[in-house]
């Protein structure tokens, strides 16, 4: 059991606006450590909603979520924040950088919060991450001066800064050309295979999904195929 990174038991979630409808129905998902999983499905089937639940940000659901063998369901806001800071890197669908800060600072902030490394070390690590995605020359630019694709790459760099056990991405390559999508994919694969980090990505990119370790298919708030080989 100890090689399970993330596990859900009967997770069900409703939206009440305008009428109460179930968006997630009895989701039972298990992701192993070091696994690279893609979640696919039609638009509106509940992929993003599921990812927010898995990321511990959304607490309004039924069922149980376990991360690294620890039950996250029912924990306090503060301890969930600490779990996210240390163990989960999240790439949002619409990248979401802090516009008043430089790219470098944007990448550094979660690490400064964690406080595991000195500010000097954090800066060096942040540069390293930016370099991996070919945006190191943008490091000192303000985040709101960047193109969508550049912002997305900085956002991925930020998700990796604390070497999180689990990296979640909501269409992390949605704004990237095929070359950069390739770079991101290769890197994700390297993180999972060489460094044992777990990756859960929602994607519309069929190639991207096919090359990952496993494809989880969703439809209408349910998992229709767990993709185990």
């Amino acid at each position: 059991m100890e090689n399970i990174a993330l596990k859900t038991t009967n997770i069900t979630k409703y939206f009440h606006d305008p009428v109460t409808i179930p968006v997630l129905k009895n989701i039972n998902l298990e992701v192993k450590k070091g696994e690279f999983v893609s979640i696919v499905g039609k638009s509106g089937c509940g992929k993003s909603t599921l990812l927010y639940v898995l990321s511990t940000m959304d607490r309004d659901y039924e069922g149980v979520l376990e991360i690294n063998g620890v039950q996250a369901t029912g924990q306090s806001l503060n301890s969930l924040a600490a779990i996210r800071n240390e163990s989960i890197g999240f790439v949002f669908q619409f990248h979401y950088l802090l516009p008043d800060f430089s790219c470098l600072k944007n990448v550094m902030i979660p690490a400064l919060k964690l406080g595991k490394f000195s500010p000097k070390e954090v800066e060096a690590r942040a540069y390293e991450k930016l370099k991996m995605f070919g945006v190191e020359e943008l490091a000192l630019k303000k985040a709101n001066k960047l193109s969508g694709g550049q912002q997305q790459r900085v956002a991925i760099a930020r998700a990796l800064i604390n070497d999180p056990a689990i990296i979640m991405g909501d269409e992390p390559t949605g704004n990237l050309d095929s070359k950069n999508t390739g770079i991101v994919f290769d890197l994700f694969q390297k993180l999972s295979h060489e460094y044992g980090q777990t990756l859960i990505t929602v994607t519309h990119d069929e190639d991207f999904a096919k090359r990952s370790d496993r494809i989880v298919e969703m439809a209408d708030g349910e998992i229709t195929n767990h993709g185990h080989r």
């Binding site: 503060n78 979401y96 902030i109 919060k113």
Partner: protein, 414 residues
């Protein structure tokens, strides 16, 4: 120096919206400088009036007061235990003189709080010169001690007050008396005290205080002359005037003296009720003005932070998503409030001092008051900074708490 992420974020937010930050800080600065200015003006004014009241009033005046008749005499005469009924009791004229005044004075001097004690003979008189008579009072004093307590020298217009010790029948008169009777130093004046016979005295000096009523009635004589005027012996003393090291202790010390001596001890607070009332009214006006100013400054901070939070709600969601707990978010926004408060506070203290200083140089020249009385009192500045910081923290707390409650998913989901 290592600054925390929260601080770094707070400072970045402040500097990325410089204009609003400066405006909010100006609000605080205005509040604090006004606070300092008003406090300095009020304390200056209060001190001035207090000081000028002490130029005529001692901290404590001990004298013999008339008493209402009681059953005391009846009791000692009718020694049985019958019930005595006293109808319509009247005030009894006591001897105006104090019994054993020099013994009392010696006793009073033993109190370590007392810095000056002087006996005095006060009597109502009629001044006459030519065919004109006016009413007044003569204070028989030891002029050296009187001068030490009330700075008579500072009020002298003509003549030398020490002549009271040298010239037989010398009299130091108020300027009002001199004007009414057209008297100059060296002239003679007839003084008659109640039942006593008239006495011809010599004007040795003329003084003027800020209080017209005193100048028109009061004159000083040597205590021995006053006793002669009344036909009394050397042990006749009507008042004992006492000054303390700290006049704020006067009420308490006066009560003690009353119990020890059995005479009435009137402290300056009792004899200057209107002064105290004026202090109180000024304090109320001042505090309401300060309250309004600080409220406005606080509202400025509240407003700017509320706007920041409204604009930065997405970023707050990001911070929380990447693992900032609620209290970090509170800290980020509260720090912004505190920095605005500190900035406004430091400038406010400087501006407040400058305003106070400049106003203290404005010439008004009303009577003896040449310049507006301003006090430069360090605790005002400390209070101002404390109040300023308290206001900013209070104003910043509610927006900060609101920010900490932002639910990241709702914002990020869009």
């Amino acid at each position: 120096m290592k600054i925390s992420v929260n601080t770094e974020i707070a400072l970045t937010y402040l500097s990325s919206r410089k204009k609003q930050t400066v405006v909010a800080a100006m609000g605080v600065m205005f509040g604090i400088s006004m606070f300092i200015f008003m406090q300095s003006l009020m304390k200056g004014t209060n001190d001035y009036f207090e000081k000028s009241s002490f130029s005529t009033t001692a901290h404590i005046r001990l004298y013999s007061e008339n008493k209402v008749a009681d059953a005391h005499m009846l009791n000692s005469y009718l020694k049985d235990n019958s019930t005595k009924i006293l109808t319509n009791p009247k005030q009894l004229q006591q001897s105006l003189g104090l019994t054993n005044p020099y013994g009392i004075i010696q006793n009073i001097r033993k109190n370590p709080q007392v810095v000056a004690v002087t006996p005095q003979v006060t009597t109502n008189v009629i001044y006459a010169s030519g065919s004109v008579n006016i009413n007044g009072t003569v204070a028989g004093v030891n002029i050296d001690e009187e001068d030490k307590m009330f700075d008579v020298q500072g009020n002298m217009k003509e003549g030398d007050l020490h002549d009271l010790n040298r010239v037989n029948n010398g009299l130091l008169i108020g300027k009002g008396i001199a004007d009414k009777l057209s008297l100059h130093v060296g002239d003679n004046i007839t003084v008659r005290a109640g039942s006593g016979s008239p006495m011809i005295m010599r004007v040795i000096g003329i003084y003027a205080t800020t209080i017209k009523q005193i100048d028109e009635t009061k004159s000083y004589a040597n205590i021995v002359q006053a006793q002669n005027l009344l036909g009394k012996d050397r042990s006749y003393v009507t008042d004992i005037k006492i000054n303390l090291a700290d006049y704020n202790n006067a009420p308490k010390v006066a009560r003690d003296m009353e119990t020890i001596t059995g005479y009435k001890a009137e402290d300056w607070v009792q004899s200057n009720e209107q002064l105290k009332a004026a202090f109180k009214i000024r304090a109320i006006i001042l505090n309401s003005v300060i309250g309004v100013i600080l409220l406005v400054a606080g509202f400025g901070i509240y407003n700017i932070l509320n706007m920041t939070i409204y604009e930065k709600i997405k970023e707050i969601a990001i911070l929380k998503a990447t693992g900032f707990p609620g209290n970090s978010v509170i800290s980020i926004f509260l720090q912004q409030a505190v920095y605005i408060g500190l900035m406004g506070g430091v400038i406010g203290v400087i501006v407040g001092f400058l305003i106070t200083f400049m106003v203290s140089k404005i010439y008004i020249g009303a009577g003896t008051l040449k310049y507006l009385p301003m006090s430069f009192y360090i605790p005002h500045y400390i209070e101002a900074v404390c109040f300023g910081i308290l206001t900013t923290i209070a104003a910043g707390f509610f927006p900060a708490r609101k920010a900490s409650k932002v639910d990241p998913v709702t914002i990020i989901r869009g």
